[in-house]
């Protein structure tokens, strides 16, 4: 057998892409090069590894003990987060029965009813839900909530609006809509669900935020506003908190959420323009 290794290195079976350096501007898998028109071996295997890791991430459970104590410390909570569980017993059931993930189990419901016995109303209930990536929740909850609490304090001192926060809750094996039931039982005007989004190949740690005004079981998605991809390499906690705060204030003022309540957090993009397309400037159209 001849040693073909050296020869192969010289024969350009793989056509590299001269725009490879654009990889500095995005995590998208651009400039991969090609063997014929197909993926080169190195790129093929890199993809397979990422897919294997993402599949593993779906099945990794939330360490809610660790999360509860981390949040208690970071946010200086006087009451530790309430630990709740959906109707789905385990991950296998969770994946096949989203309806179970949208409902609390009986024990969790009873505990919330007890917690809300004094009939006190709250302006906002924050519900942390594992969703499809416990890792997202584990890593991003504390920094995001620190930013949100800061934004709320800021708003209270700026506008003298008061934000009464319900006890923090953590739901295991939950879906977005489980927050409706939690918010309802806690007598909250609005609910914020922080949930692990389905893991992507390049982002197994993405947190989604769903805000709903007047939560109650049975609401549809058109009643929610979403801010997606909160993670260190995506939307920063500070920016996410800023956008959410704008949504919350408008929801409270107009007493609604969802498609009727447009996210206007970036309207400044338009107002700042002087008729041109300055903010869309990029190398493809720079003359």
């Amino acid at each position: 057998m001849p040693d073909t290794g050296a020869n192969e290195a010289q024969v350009p079976f793989v056509v590299e892409n001269p725009w490879e350096r654009l990889q500095a501007f995005t995590d998208a898998r651009i400039g991969l090069g090609r063997a014929g028109v197909s993926l080169p071996t190195r790129q093929l295997l890199a993809f397979q590894l990422a897919h294997a890791q993402a599949q593993d991430a779906v099945h990794c459970p939330l360490d809610s003990d660790a999360l509860a104590s981390q949040l208690t410390n970071t946010l200086s909570l006087t009451v530790p987060p309430l630990r709740l569980h959906s109707h789905a017993l385990d991950r296998a059931m969770y994946l096949q029965r989203p309806d179970y993930g949208r409902r609390l189990n009986d024990d969790s419901r009873a505990r919330l009813q007890t917690a809300a016995m004094d009939g006190q109303r709250f302006d906002l209930a924050v519900v942390i839900v594992d969703g499809l990536s416990a890792r997202a929740v584990q890593q991003n909850s504390a920094p995001f909530l620190a930013a949100l609490y800061h934004a709320i304090q800021q708003d209270q001192s700026d506008s003298e609006d008061v934000w009464r926060l319900a006890p923090l809750t953590i739901v295991e094996q939950g879906r977005v809509a489980v927050g409706d039931e939690v918010g309802d039982l806690l007598n909250a005007d609005a609910v914020l669900v922080m949930i692990g989004e389905r893991p992507g190949l390049s982002s197994p740690d993405s947190l989604g935020l769903y805000m709903t005004w007047a939560p109650e079981p049975g609401l549809k998605d058109d009643r929610r506003n979403c801010i997606s991809n909160v993670r260190p390499a995506g939307l920063s906690s500070e920016e996410a908190a800023r956008r959410l705060m704008l949504l919350l204030k408008e929801a409270r003022q107009r007493r609604l959420s969802g498609v009727q309540l447009k996210d206007r957090s970036e309207d400044s993009v338009l107002e700042g323009e002087s008729g041109g397309s300055g903010s869309t400037r990029n190398f493809l159209v720079a003359d």
Binding site: V259, E266, F283
Partner: protein, 471 residues
């Protein structure tokens, strides 16, 4: 009155309470129907249901609405717009006869096109339940649906691609980088379409301008779309934004669409608004719809129907508004609706068949999520099958990895694979452009240029230094 259907096989007597139950139980197995509690209890019951369905006259679907006429505007749309004249040659057929006719040499491309408006979504769904994958492919291949805006999509022997340059923070340079990558792999003739990470009007307008600038500068015969809510696009049109196509996710029941925050009158308003802009050069199809089995159940708006029948009803909504593109995002919804590669592949072929039979310009997002039992091999299979079936378009994304929506779809490379093995070409106007700007060395042989085309080499000189990201 809902009719009861029954039959006896051996010593067992089977009963189906009404048409909806018969349809659901005749459906090839999938997790979403199990979740909805409408699936056949046994394999035998499924085939028995198929046998009973095969005996049913097609005209039954005109007399017995699966969702009451009074309750659902999609039912009203289907019934009110049914073309009795187009149906006349089929009206004596049973569902089983209908399958035979579709496969027969009588059902030429012309005959199928003439019958379109006589076929309801329920008839299409019903017959598809009796069809094997090869039947779905063979008949779909005979149904040609051609649409146009700045190029012509759906011609025989062609398969277009949507260039999908999504970015998790809508970063302008990041999006431009993916657009460049896609164009240089020959992608983007169906549309350059961005799912915005931040779904508001200001952000949508910004992305519309970005794509419009690129299309104009390089004189690309294609169209752009920001996949934001229809009401956002309407507002963008009012603000003077360069809107080519209006996007909306649609479902097959009124309640599904209400959960998405729109109804038929809003779609009509949006189509009319986009038409006034007059931005197409070779055609006037201005709508882009996305669908997918399971969306009605997910919105608890399925009225006890199986998910494939709900999906077919969405095509009635689509065809009402003469879309340029309709895309079934088949594996996106997750394993609770389509559990594994086998179910995803079957659903993709069903959706493509039903859409084409009804005259909808069907494309497919051949895709899966990381919590489904599927992988790249399953996608290779479905892409190849759809290429054979004459699918109008598929997605194109860098390296199959959508870093914003967190799922895997077909890559720029995948589309070129399909073009090579199946001899499929891009839309003719776009193909000429690929040749002119020298992205391809030999566009006929699907051979890319090893050298960077001059126009793009020039643009790369404008790259910001140091790789700092424009956030």
């Amino acid at each position: 009155m809902a009719q009861t259907y029954h039959t006896t096989v051996g010593s067992r007597r089977y009963r189906f309470e009404g048409l909806a139950e018969l349809m659901a139980k005749a459906t090839p197995a999938r997790s979403g129907d199990r979740l909805a509690g409408v699936i056949a209890d046994t394999a035998e019951e499924r085939v028995v249901a198929q046998m009973v369905l095969a005996e049913l006259p097609l005209s039954t679907f005109l007399n017995e609405a699966l969702i009451p006429y009074e309750q659902d505007e999609i039912t009203r749309l289907i019934i009110d717009e049914h073309d009795a004249r187009a149906f006349a040659p089929l009206k004596h057929l049973t569902v089983g006869d209908f399958r035979n006719w579709l496969l027969s040499d009588h059902a030429t491309s012309e005959a199928l096109a003439a019958a379109r408006d006589g076929i309801t979504p329920e008839m299409a769904a019903a017959v598809s339940k009796l069809m094997r994958n090869q039947d779905l492919i063979l008949v779909a291949r005979k149904c040609q649906v051609t649409t146009a805006f700045r190029n012509t999509i759906g011609l025989s022997g062609r398969m277009s691609t949507r260039l999908q340059p999504n970015h998790p923070t809508d970063d302008v340079t990041g999006i431009a980088a993916s657009i460049l990558d896609g164009l240089l792999y020959g992608s983007g003739d169906a549309v350059i379409g961005i799912n915005p990470a931040t779904d508001n009007v200001a952000q949508s307008i910004k992305l519309m301008r970005l794509m419009d600038d690129v299309i104009q500068k390089y004189q690309i015969p294609t169209q752009s779309c920001v996949l934001t809510h229809v009401t956002n696009t309407l507002e963008a049109i009012e603000k003077g934004a360069p809107v080519d196509l209006v996007f909306q996710s649609i479902g097959g029941t009124e309640a599904t669409n209400r959960s998405f925050g729109f109804d038929l009158s809003i779609l009509a308003e949006a189509e009319a608004a986009a038409q006034t802009l007059n931005r197409g050069t070779v055609g006037r199809n201005v709508m882009y719809f996305e669908t997918g089995q399971g969306s009605s159940l997910s919105a608890d708006a399925h009225h006890g129907l199986d998910q494939q029948t709900c999906e077919a009803r969405a095509y009635a909504v689509a065809r009402k508004f003469s879309p340029l593109l309709v895309n079934t995002v088949v594996g996106f919804i997750g394993p609770e609706y389509l559990y594994d590669g086998k179910e995803i592949i079957r659903a993709g072929l069903e959706d493509h068949f039903c859409g084409k039979l009804l005259g909808v310009p069907m494309g497919c997002d051949v895709c899966y999520t990381n919590h489904a039992e599927a992988d790249q091999n399953d996608m290779d299979n479905l892409l190849t099958l759809l290429g054979v079936a004459g699918c109008n378009f598929v997605m194109g994304i860098p390296g199959s990895d959508d870093i914003m929506l967190n799922y895997q779809t077909t890559s720029f490379h995948d589309a070129l694979y399909a073009r090579r093995v199946l001899g499929l070409k891009a839309a003719p106007e776009f193909e000429r452009w690929l040749e002119q700007v020298q992205i391809f060395q030999d566009v006929g042989a699907c051979q890319l240029n090893d050298q960077l085309p001059a126009a793009f080499a020039n643009s790369l000189r404008h790259l910001p230094r140091g790789g700092s990201r424009d956030a």
